[in-house]
């Protein structure tokens, strides 16, 4: 089993999920450091991500667009806070407007990634996700899962089909 533990701390608004991979640390780091590999797993399968900017340096930006089955596009960004290859990465995570401009108001949380080598050549990955508020968490989930994305698009459809209110 890949995921070995999940710790939820409601008060600190964090969740730490720990996974172990049968691959060396340098290889696991690549799924974060190589934009072509990152875009294969970040978004749900029907909303594949295209990484348009990828600068894993302190203060650097990672920008991506997820495209849905209806051609709907959703933009997101990371702002890198700290990076120490191949061990740690910490970034703010948020969404952007249609032009890709990140807005402070859409900041949803902070993600910390820590990789460590296991005896026998495997790698442990601890991901701590701290979200800014319950609304932010709702937004992360809406953008991060297929069900959430489908629901979000469905809501837009529903809104568009409603007669305008006087």
């Amino acid at each position: 089993m890949t995921v070995t533990s999940v710790v939820k701390d409601a008060d600190a608004r964090t969740m730490t999920i720990t996974a172990r991979f049968d691959a060396p640390i340098g290889r696991v780091w690549q799924v974060w450091s190589d934009p072509r590999q990152l875009e294969r797993w970040w978004g749900p399968p029907t909303y594949p991500a295209t990484v348009t900017e990828h600068n894993l340096a302190p203060g650097g930006t990672v920008a991506y667009t997820m495209t849905g089955p209806e051609g709907d596009r959703h933009r997101g960004w990371w702002r890198v806070r700290a990076v120490d290859p191949p061990h740690t990465l910490e970034f703010e995570d948020g969404f952007a407007d249609a032009d890709g401009n990140p807005s402070r108001d859409t900041l949803t949380g902070v993600i910390r990634v820590a990789l460590s080598e296991l005896a026998g050549g495997g790698t442990q990955m601890d991901i701590t996700t701290a979200w800014a508020s319950v609304e932010a968490m709702e937004q992360i989930l809406a953008m991060g899962t297929e069900a959430g994305m489908t629901a979000a698009v469905g809501q837009i459809d529903e809104l568009l089909s409603l007669p305008a209110r006087a």
Binding site: T2, V3, V28, W41, L107, V110, E135, L141, T145
Partner: protein, 116 residues
Amino acid sequence: MVVSTAETKGADALFHALADPTRRDILAVVLRDAHSVSDLARRYPISFAAVHKHVGALERAGLVTKTRHGREQRVRGDVATLRTAHRLLDDLEALWRERIDRIEQVLAHPTERAPQ
């Protein structure tokens, strides 16, 4: 921390309210049956004022509602809000489990595109 711009105090209060064991206990009691604050105060070895404060925290988080019955106010738990908190945590776990499964596939097949 810079992550508070979009915060709504009411929403944040949800997890804060659930983090305290006395408040969780009060919530469990009023989810079963509505109680007045004085009823609740008799159940705990803390002051009426302290219980009143806990109820206030639960109310701000939308976890309980107060309704007036004659001279006393009754406190009742809101199941829907509690479900929201649980669902959010469970959904966040599911999101990362899905991502970790996909990372596993990327590690196994470094150069292929993910199946669409």
